[in-house]
Subunit: 373 residues, 2 copies
Amino acid sequence: MSLDSMKKTKIDPFGATLIEDYERLYKEFGIQPFKHLLPKTPNPLAAMRRGLIFGHRNFERILNAMSEHEEFAVMSGIKPTGEFHLGTLMTAREVIYFQQQGATAFYCVADIEAYEDNNIPFEKSEKIAVGNVADLLALGFDPKKGYIYRQSKEERVKNLAIIFSRGVTLATMKAIYGERHMGLYLSALIQAGDILLPQLKDFGGPKPTVVPVGVDQDPHLRLTRDIAFKFRKKYNFIPPSSMYHKLIKALDGSPKMSKRSPMGYFTLEEKPKIIAKKISNAFTGGCPTAEEQRRLGANPDICPIYDLCLFHFYEKDEDLVTLYNEECREGKILCGECKNRLIEIVTNFVTNHQQKRSEYINQAREILGIKKY
Amino acid sequence: MSLDSMKKTKIDPFGATLIEDYERLYKEFGIQPFKHLLPKTPNPLAAMRRGLIFGHRNFERILNAMSEHEEFAVMSGIKPTGEFHLGTLMTAREVIYFQQQGATAFYCVADIEAYEDNNIPFEKSEKIAVGNVADLLALGFDPKKGYIYRQSKEERVKNLAIIFSRGVTLATMKAIYGERHMGLYLSALIQAGDILLPQLKDFGGPKPTVVPVGVDQDPHLRLTRDIAFKFRKKYNFIPPSSMYHKLIKALDGSPKMSKRSPMGYFTLEEKPKIIAKKISNAFTGGCPTAEEQRRLGANPDICPIYDLCLFHFYEKDEDLVTLYNEECREGKILCGECKNRLIEIVTNFVTNHQQKRSEYINQAREILGIKKY
């Protein structure tokens, strides 16, 4: 769905809505472009440099906290409905980045949302959560400088949702989310609790907090900023800052990865051979014949293989520029070669990651307070 | 508001809606008349014998559990917004009655509702709750055969609300409660959690449960019965039974006591002298002059003094019949005399109750886990 047709339906964080027209987000929803802040951002992530992190709200406040060495927090999380995929990988990298820049890092396992939105029972999501948290640790999250928790076990979050609910009219909920069942509304209030949790006394009181998320999650941020304002007297909340990343294309070329098309994405837990197969079979921006492609070049802008390189797997910006221009657009390499190169990188990454992850399973279980079955 | 004008606005448990036309409840909302079950009810309360408890849902199931000596529960509670008054006294007596008939008694201090509906902060309601629970104990509630808790501290109730929310559409909420802020909807879901709490495994699993309430609370029962049905597979819930009492008239003759008119009601904690004053000043069904009243008699049907005798303070039914007919309607006594007689009874009751209550304050604090300030 393009943003044109979304004018009335709003951005929907629960459904499979798609954001093609980022410019509209600036104009209509008050999200600010990130690029002006890039020069002031220390040790920027590849995703920042490459424009994948394209928008923010009040990120200046975080830059300020970083440069003044003031206390600040980063808050994000995962909905434990399945294994880590490339979207959750992006968020995890952002959280870890801010942790390394000095933030206290809050990582929420949104099992209440997994139940309300996807009907995943808590008994099931707790098993998934163990793997998710092991992934996060394997990626470099330092649990000594952060707090990982499950929504369903964090009473402070539930209590905040109860307190906030009094300040939210039905009209507000409908304006932000449309007509939904009570569980989704409650889940949204609980997410407001997650986002403001770092500012409770138990965690040292009010502080700038940045929430890196996919842009489809912005409605939760709007709700939470509204709530932070309404309850400012009681809690002295600082409105949360946020940072938005683009969504990576699916392997079949469609604009968003979805669990409904398993050939369109892969998780970090899949067998490298299967991932290789999926990449091999992926749609590309190439031409029908090798001859044509050598002559005309290919189109990286519509290519999910290029997206994989851009979002996650090409470390050096120079390599990416070369790939984009000479190699791809000027037809120097064919899609098969490009895919094989990527397969090697992905296989190395995934094999290495899976090894590390397996070593973190017990610690993940401990952090979540989940016994071995 | 009469039920005629309520056709569209529904029965409103949060507002000050009034139920004058009980017959309509039978027809429109499916509440059953209680009187047919009175002969089967063991040791009926005065309020049952006198038709003050006028309706029920599925009370047969409770009668059956009583006669078969099967496990059953009674569940009700108080919104800790102020001291015990004559409405909460009625509910407390019903709860204690069922406890004495063998029920496990659950008594909820609805501090979340007090916050959502009346904006009473939790720090304030916890102080009020101590007094409320001391009242309950002084009235004869046996804590060894029951469970008294605060909503805000009972995680199982909050977790049930979270689970139930997925099964409730916005349309259902609006049909039952109208357009309200999110806090009132959440509070309704939490009350469904309260009502079904006795059926959790922790408390021995599914069992018939009777909920004695003022008829204005029926919407919560309808919502909860709907939820019990929707989640029957997961929990094996037995739909809760309920029992409805009429609302006592205010001392100024208006149809419902309200905190907004402090001269129209009294609490069990007021000074007996002040209560006496309020009774002295109350509206009655009497005539303008003594001469007229001796000749024409008075009208007990519109008289709050008669209501006090009927609901709470005349123990013997015969005395009440005499008061209603010979003494009042036939003009044998004047209102002043009737009031003085009542003042003596109320003063004795209240003095005695306040003495007992003060002895239960520490135990109440212990039960609620609230430290002395």
